[in-house]
Point group: D3
Chain length 248, copies 6
């Protein structure tokens, strides 16, 4: 059940049986010469919808711009500052909590969002308590990172070994190829790829990782791999969501 | 050309010939008993993509949550506060302006966004000047409201007369039916519908407009109408974008 | 009844019979070579006081600095950023709402304030609800733009036709001449005047509108015209205020 | 020379010979049963204009709402939060500094503004340096509190002794009587008046100072006294401004 | 009793008999060629702990970075902006007030903090009222500036006369020598020292006060003096705290 | 070398040979019935000073209040909201970066700070770039969590096995016992201790972890263990700092 394809009366009915919601969150950022700028949002959205279908949970609108300041030296990247993203996340949750939702499961496609999401959750719990919402003490948020699912990680290692890298990875590119086969890109990839540098500011990042990839070889990706990753992530995160929902 | 389906090198290439970008913006808010919560984002996104295709312009990620505070007494609505939305819009534009974009054309699906968008543009121009960006003085933003296109307005009057109303209108519902025929909703609509009240806070809004419609009869909508609206809006906004782009 | 010339006990007494208040809002911004920098505040204040007298409503302190970022390339202009102005408006309303006021009628002298005022109202309604004020749901705000009164508009067209323009207009200059006859300015006005350009950033504005006028010929203004405009606006806005106050 | 009665070209001309400006700042707050809510703004404005005339300095728009949170339990009081007021002051100064002003002399009518003004100055100096304004290092701000002028203080002691008190004082009431003789108020004043309590929150303030006066007997005020105070303050602050302006 | 050396159960027990707390606040800023960068925090902390011991009050963590923007042209200085410091102070007080504390006594070692602290208190009282805390109306904050104690001031005059100056004073340096005898610094001090200039921005400050001292001769300081100052301040502020605590 | 025990001229000299600085950051939060409220700050400060001594690095003032919102249902806890902490961290780094520091090594004693610190670093890099600081691109920040050092973790497992738990751990309590042997606390500890629950809001936390411990048995701690942990952490983090400093 997709929130944006539902009516408010359907949401009202849904809330009778469940107060959980899935919120896909990605990023709009460079993913190397062949990766789509929307990769993280595309993966998060597709997998979140798969999860929503498999377990009849409602899926909110995709947050397609996240915390990608370190990628902003590449054109096409859009990022919120962390403190803005905290505010945005807080306002999403506050609106939904006032309507009765209490369990917020963010299916996340971007490692760079994790720290800010956690900070946002902490800030939001305190905010809801300050608002004296009757259900404030019941609100719980969790991040499910599809790319950190055990099954996904294992398959990526099997298929790509070290060439999985950590950004513009073949696994995430594969998922986008599966979702948007019409947008598979070809471009020459330098044999040498930046790897192992820590992430600091945007200018430094571009020096270390001149084509945007971080130790990855996305040329290994195929749509078939993408399907496999998708299915593994949907399965594992569906279980994760149910556990979260059912936790006392 | 969709930003999220492009690579950063494609964006770099695009910027050589054009520094314009289209940004769809909608809302996630109740649209009466039969209107989709995502109506405004769906319409803006579909029309923006149509415009992008027709004139080879790049289309950014859809901003699917906007300023809908007055709808927040209905479950499923998500809204930013205006000052948060100003910050968000400013950060989108700032990232893109640093990359070289200068003409920002927001295709908007929600009347409630207009005031805040205008405020955001003013704040952003000043912010960019303060940052001493070399192209700060060239940055220009414009809102294109598809539902206020002359041709759209005319057709809505012809088809629906006064039953067009001003929220959860048959014209916007028709566009969503055209885009998502699988999500056409049926529900009884009260014969009487709230109409003509000014908009104040969320609690007051729900009292005035108990089922969420504002003077509209969305039961008149058909997917075929939607196609007509879509095509008129795409045509008119394509011209609007080109004029904006080419203005000295 | 002017708030600043009243005591708190008089305000307390006033609140027994009415919870409405008029707040004049203008701007401190260039108005061409002969228009006063305080034009918008002067007009709003004078007309608001006229309205207050005619219908025995209390009139608050004039907000004489508004949203004029696009005029800041001309010396003497002072502007708030929109997000600051939202905060300011919210704090005014919150203080007064806590004291019992519920109907806030802003008599506005500056087109550039409108979007930010509307954003501020939306943000304030939500803020008051979050504060759990007992009268939060009753708070209503409205903008009355004196220069957009039907009767004013009609007279301006009759007197000036196209030379009314849209900034540093003869009509607003006339009102200031009526209010401050000692401050009528003479200066040569270029025969050619910028006109029809959209408003973007401050630097661009000054290029388009080099002497600050927007298509207007303020040399046509006279104090007698000003008196007429003043009286029309007072009459129309007095009715507007009463309607607003009496609306269910 | 009053900014609001000047044109931008007059301001431009003024800046050739002086980069100083006087900004009156008051408050909109209860002043006991007979004191005007606008007392602090009225005094600051009148005295600032007197100073401006006597030494040909430009006088900006009166900031008539300041930091009066502790008075907000009395109806009619309007206050900014300190952090909002800091932002407002910063934006005033920034606009004017960009236009070339460097010496900002705030003529202040309200003790409660002093701390926040000082905080605002510090924040603004740092902000201007961050903006890389060419004249940032020249910007200097000063507060001139008319009620703390030595000559004013001496006269108040002579005329009223201990009955001067510290809020709703006969001296400030006298100045308002001189400026607005038509708004002299009569009301019974309790023989006992709260005195000597420290200022904490608004609710506590109202308990300590039930009619709003702080140890004062404003019944002693006369318009003639007001004239004397006005003249003393204008003289002393004119000297203060010139010293400030001429300091190396 | 030091908060950081206590357990939460000890704090719970303390609250049964007292709801007062002492919060030391200093600064991290240059103090001339021989003064420690931590001078203000060191003095405030040592004296606060002395007060805490002498009267069995709990002492919170030292706020060792305050408002020192005007010193930031000297390396080693760290400052918060006033609006950030207001937020920080508000969050400290809010956490503690929710736990039951109501009397907040800030023992302050830095003149530059005073204005911002006062602004913070005003903002916090209003914030707590908005949160509807049951004890909001009881919360009271006070600043005790050790260097402004009558007894301290008198001794400084006796020992140093005019060479006390107003920053990097021998009295504060003496206290740090008493607390940290191992960190007594020797450095040549120019015979001439900047004096009497007002404080504006950081760049201006460094021009006026090239070695960081303001009219002071810290070479006069001795650890023995420091002990005397310490004891006088502890005694006077202990009384001050008790008065504050016991005030009705 | 401790910043607070240095003069600005010593800092200036230090910057000639190194632009690195160590910043200890802890928290002020409950640590169970026997753990000190200052545990995280005490450990971070002691270890940071040990590191500073061992490798002649400068150590800044301890940030002793961090992000501990989830502990705020226990008296004595003080927390910043994440967005406030981001601002604070940004202002520390900005002041120091303007003075020439480029490598910021935060020695952290609290797991709850990590997400917000990372968010703060990202926001700060972007902020410094926006300020156009000449060394903005060189600024790099890193967190060194003493409790996550491999050697520390190994020893904790050896000494305490599962009773190490994850909050109010015997290892951190041991370090505080080593640093403050005079503040070793005795209190009965329930045999059963909350364990394995995720962290959400403060009220929920207190329900799950009624005495504040998370699966730990701090009764196992001894000052001798503390010395061992201290030495291991100092050694490992000294190496970590040098690597960070020397990284290209």
């Amino acid at each position: 059940m997709l929130l944006h394809l539902s009516t408010w009366t359907e949401v009202e009915a849904y809330l009778v049986s469940s107060t959980g919601i899935i919120l896909p969150i990605g990023s709009t950022e460079q993913h190397g010469p062949t990766g789509l700028i929307g990769t993280d949002a595309i993966c998060a959205e597709a997998i979140a919808r798969g999860v929503g279908e498999s377990i009849s949970a409602i899926v909110g609108p995709t947050i397609n711009v996240g915390m990608a300041l370190h990628h902003t030296a590449f054109p096409g990247t859009i990022s919120l500052r962390p403190s803005t993203m905290i505010q945005v996340i807080q306002e999403y949750i506050t609106c939904l909590a006032k309507a009765g939702f209490t369990k917020f499961f963010f299916i996340n496609g971007h490692g760079g969002n994790i720290a800010t999401l956690k900070a946002a959750f902490a800030e939001t719990y305190a905010h809801l308590a300050d608002l004296n919402l009757p259900n404030a003490h019941l609100v719980k948020c969790q991040v499910g990172n599809w790319f950190m699912c055990g099954s996904v990680y294992k398959l990526a290692k099997e298929l790509y070994g070290d060439q999985e890298g950590s950004h513009a990875t073949p696994s995430e590119v594969a998922v986008t190829q599966y979702v948007y086969p019409e947008a598979i890109k070809q471009a020459p990839l330098a044999a040498e790829v930046g790897s192992g540098y820590k992430i600091y500011g945007a200018a430094d990042f571009r020096v270390r990782y001149p084509d945007g990839r971080m130790g990855s070889n996305p040329a290994l990706a195929t749509p078939e791999h993408g399907k496999q990753f998708y299915e593994l992530a949907v399965k594992e995160l569906s279980n994760g969501y149910l556990e979260f929902l059912n936790a006392e």
